[in-house]
């Protein structure tokens, strides 16, 4: 066209007055639209990726919750079964547990997806054929829950029932695991002999096997408790969630007990809400060599199969209420209760909360005398509390059930006091099975008292003839409670027979020279009437084996054989005097605390230091005065320091 571009533009412009299509305009429009579509598509892609990620996360969470829920269901079922068994036993009626065991065996495991919502049936697990034992799920969780549940049932059940329960729980987990591996073994009723509760998962699983007959190739061998405390064979771990759900599914389809649905559902929800955090924390901290994975928490490359590497302590609570140094702490034998005796003249009783809180106050403060309190002990039944003071007063207190802080002070809890000592009472120990209390005092005597509140409680006095040093610490031999180990200020270790009141043997130890790295050997200072560097600060006995450990002021820890009466080993344990020691109830580690303000965990077999951490502040040459492990073998550990703080650790 013979038009100038302007006229062309004018014409196109004029033509654009109406919405007509022209090529550039159409092209422009298509381009913008295309760009817009691309943008939107990118946005959709991003959103889709986000959604996908969220879905995966939720899926993972749901799986975790499912496994937790199945755990809890299992526990509940075990408890119910045990309760029924107890009732049956008491009523002496033929067992009424419905036994669709044959059905359980016969139906093939259905591989339904793990979408079981509420398995509200009870599994009569005793009659399901018991297959070889394999290790169970997260044992720390097992332990915390079993201990929590056992506390609820405390009023109704005795110690043996608790042991029975634990055996059932272990078996339940074993049964859930066994669905994966298919080895047959003749079924047997697991009878749980009274046995010490221990932390190691292999010990648990193995002790379970005491009720099982012959087992398959992957069984755990376990000799009877007192004879051997060596490392145990490890067993395989099995992922529990899928298998248990299948088991539950099968049973659910078979038997329905609608009456218990609602209560079960409620309990499951409660447990779930309370225990999901602990479950998650337990999964992060539990290290089991059988896994072969996640040794991030293990401190030393201990040989596989020794579960001691699975104990790793972290601080949990700091209890600050005392006004002066805390000399001794004690755990209650059954309840989550702590007693701390301090030089400010008070014994404070603490309720240990189940989860870490910032300010924990003692629920009760006991005041017996104005003199510093040096020792505290619980009775073996947990009914009584004994406190020993620097002015020779041993007071007997009643442990009440009412444990609310700032409640009305009931004066009747101060029951009586044991007269007899004439000088500071440095250690109190309750007999592990009989109602006796042993006390040692700076007047040189060890006295045994009968705690049944008789008119004359003094039973016996133990004294080494022609001896002037004062006893510092006591320990009953767990393997033979008729023998008492006593340690003295001049480094003597004596063993007394409780009945004959005669010393069986005495061992004299001498102070080692002090070795600082890079320095010449420093000879120990000579002994004076008020200070002896070979002083044994604490003697502790092993929970299972014939082993006695002492910790000394010359920085060493020594191991003795109480039967042969010889020293097995001596090692430098800390960089300053060691004052606190305790064997862990599982028998695998020794925990020590020293005046260098460090806590150390030693492996009993190899005497290697497994873990070390600083604790407490030093106050005038004193650091840590007392260390205790929780008697139920759980991960509880408590240390009492000269700074007046009681620290609680968990593993």
């Amino acid at each position: 066209m013979n038009s100038t571009p302007s006229s062309l533009m004018a014409r196109t412009a004029s033509s654009e007055q109406q919405p007509t299509l022209s090529l550039p305009r159409v092209l422009h429009f298509l381009q913008t639209e295309w760009r817009r579509f691309e943008l939107e598509r990118n946005e959709w892609e991003i959103e889709r990726a986000e959604m996908q990620a969220k879905i995966n996360l939720l899926e993972g969470e749901r799986r975790g919750l499912e496994s937790v829920k199945s755990d809890l269901v299992k526990r509940i079922k075990m408890l119910e079964y045990a309760l029924r068994a107890e009732r049956v036993k008491n009523a002496k009626v033929a067992p009424a547990a419905p036994v669709p065991a044959s059905q359980a065996k016969s139906t093939s495991p259905s591989k339904t997806p793990a979408a079981a919502t509420d398995p509200n049936t009870t599994i009569p697990l005793l009659d399901v054929p018991s297959r070889p034992v394999t290790t169970d799920l997260n044992v720390p969780t097992l332990r915390t829950r079993s201990s929590a549940l056992s506390l609820r049932a405390r009023g109704a059940q005795t110690q043996q029932s608790r042991d029975l329960l634990r055996a059932f729980l272990r078996e339940a987990s074993a049964l859930s695991a066994q669905l994966v591996n298919d080895v047959d073994a003749p079924p047997e009723l697991p009878h749980a002999p009274p046995q010490r509760d221990s932390k190691a998962p292999t010990v648990e699983a193995a002790a379970d096997g005491l009720g099982f007959g012959d087992r398959g190739p992957q069984s755990v061998t376990f000799e009877s408790l007192p004879a051997d405390a060596g490392p145990l064979e490890s067993t395989r771990t099995v992922s529990p969630s899928g298998s248990l759900e299948e088991l539950v599914e099968r049973n659910e389809s078979r038997s329905g007990r609608s009456t218990e649905f609602a209560s079960m559902a409620r309990r499951i929800r409660r447990f779930q809400s309370a225990l999901v955090p602990s479950h998650e924390s337990a999964t992060t901290t539990s290290v089991r060599p059988e896994n072969g994975v996640d040794d991030s928490e293990a401190d030393t490359p201990a040989s596989t199969g020794t579960p001691s590497s699975s104990l790793f302590w972290r601080p949990r609570l700091q209890l600050q209420h005392h006004l002066d140094a805390v000399r001794m702490v004690e755990f209650h034998p059954t309840d989550p209760l702590l007693a701390s005796a301090s030089e400010d003249g008070t014994v404070k009783l603490w309720n240990l909360p189940s989860r870490a809180r910032r300010d924990v106050e003692p629920y009760l403060t006991l005041r017996a005398s104005a003199a510093p309190l040096l020792s505290v002990a619980f009775d073996v039944t947990g009914e009584f509390l004994f406190s020993g003071a620097a002015d020779a007063l041993i007071t007997v207190w009643k442990v009440t059930e009412n444990r609310l802080p700032y409640s009305s002070y009931d004066k009747r809890i101060r029951l009586t006091h044991f007269d007899g000592h004439t000088d500071a009472v440095w250690d109190l120990k309750a007999h592990p099975s009989e109602p006796f209390l042993a006390s040692c005092s700076a007047d040189g005597t060890v006295r045994l008292w009968d705690t049944r509140l008789k008119p004359v409680p003094l039973e016996a006095i133990y004294q080494l003839p022609d001896f002037t040093a004062a006893p510092t610490s006591l320990a009953f031999l767990v393997t033979d409670p008729s023998k008492l180990m006593v340690s003295y200020r001049d480094g003597t270790l004596a063993q007394f027979d409780l009945a004959t009141q005669q010393p069986i043997f005495t061992l004299r130890t001498h102070a080692h020279p002090i070795y600082d790295f890079g320095q010449p050997l420093i000879p120990p200072p000579p002994a004076t009437p008020t200070y002896d560097p070979s002083q044994i600060n604490r003697v502790v006995t092993h929970s299972v084996a014939n082993l006695v450990a002492t910790v000394h002021d010359d920085r060493t820890a020594r191991f003795f054989d109480p039967v042969a009466g010889t020293c097995i080993h001596a090692m430098t344990a800390h960089t300053d005097a060691v004052a606190a020691a305790q064997f862990h109830p599982n028998g695998l580690v020794l925990v020590t605390g020293g005046h260098d303000c460090s806590m150390r965990v030693w492996d009993v077999g190899s005497r290697a230091c497994l873990q070390e951490w600083p604790a407490h502040r030093r106050r005038r040459d004193a650091g840590i005065w007392s260390v205790r492990c929780a008697p139920d073998g759980g991960g509880g550990l408590v240390s009492a320091g000269a700074d007046g703080v009681v620290r609680v650790y968990e593993s």
Binding site: Q320, H321, H322, L323, D324, E343, D344, G345, D359, E361, P362, T365, R367, A368, A370, A371, P372, L374, A390, D391, Y406, S408, Y409, K411, R414, D423, A424, W426, D427, A442, D443, A469, A470, P471, T472, Y488, R489, I514, Q519, P520, I522, P523, P525, T528, P529, T530, Y531, Q535, N537, D553, A577, A579, H595, R617, R618, R619, R620, D621, A622, D643
Partner: protein, 214 residues
């Protein structure tokens, strides 16, 4: 302060197990001022050393030590009062019960126990025990007293509260259990020190000091 040289280590200053009651503090060295003692417990150690040396001289005990922080000194004194009141509680244990003193009174004044969510009318012995326990808890509370070597303003505001409540323990013992009070005071001189402490650091109003004749 540690004096670790190549010479044989000195005798450690702590109450080792097995020590006799009269020898408990024998290994303790006397320091001239809190600076010589290692932190963070230097004020507490110095105060306890002074009390062991001269328990019956209240003015010397409440005077601020050389180069000392008066606020921390007051804090340590309050801790020490809570500690030593254990003796008075033990002495009152048999005398004061909810039959003899069903309410916390001191010579016509009646007090409600503040250790509960709502102030409660505890009996006298309960009030005493709760007050001392509550004071221990407060003095150990890291929110108010996070440090042993320096005091912040929320801390200082609590001194008056604690002193006032502890005074009521003395007042009740004086007015209602006079024999016990006199016996305890003769042995420990605690009340004399407490009054000197309050007056010196101005923690209570003069008219709230109920015990007039001294």
């Amino acid at each position: 302060m540690e004096q670790m040289t190549a010479a044989p280590p000195r005798i450690p200053q702590r109450k080792n197990p097995g020590t006799r009651y009269e020898d408990l503090y024998q290994s303790y060295v006397t320091y001239a001022s809190p600076d010589a003692i290692e932190a963070p417990f230097m004020y507490q150690e110095y105060l306890q050393q002074l009390i062991r040396a001269s328990p019956a001289d209240p003015e010397a005990l409440v005077a601020v030590p050389p180069n000392g922080d008066p606020l921390v000194w007051q804090y340590e004194h309050l801790r020490q009062f809570c500690l030593e009141l254990t003796g008075l509680v033990v002495a009152l244990h048999d005398e004061c019960s909810d039959q003899s003193c069903p309410e916390m009174k001191a010579n016509e004044w009646q007090y409600l126990c503040a250790a509960h969510p709502t102030p409660k009318n505890c009996c006298a012995f309960d009030y005493i025990v709760h007050t001392i326990d509550g004071a221990c808890g407060l003095l150990n509370n890291p929110k108010f007293f996070p440090s042993r070597v320096s005091m912040g303003t929320p801390a200082v505001q609590q001194f008056g509260n604690i002193a006032r409540r502890l005074y009521r323990v003395f007042a009740h013992a004086y007015f209602h259990h006079r024999a016990v009070f006199d016996r305890y005071e003769a042995a420990s001189h605690l009340y004399a020190r407490f009054v000197a402490f309050i007056l010196k650091y101005d923690l209570m109003d003069k008219d709230t000091i109920l015990i007039k004749d001294q």
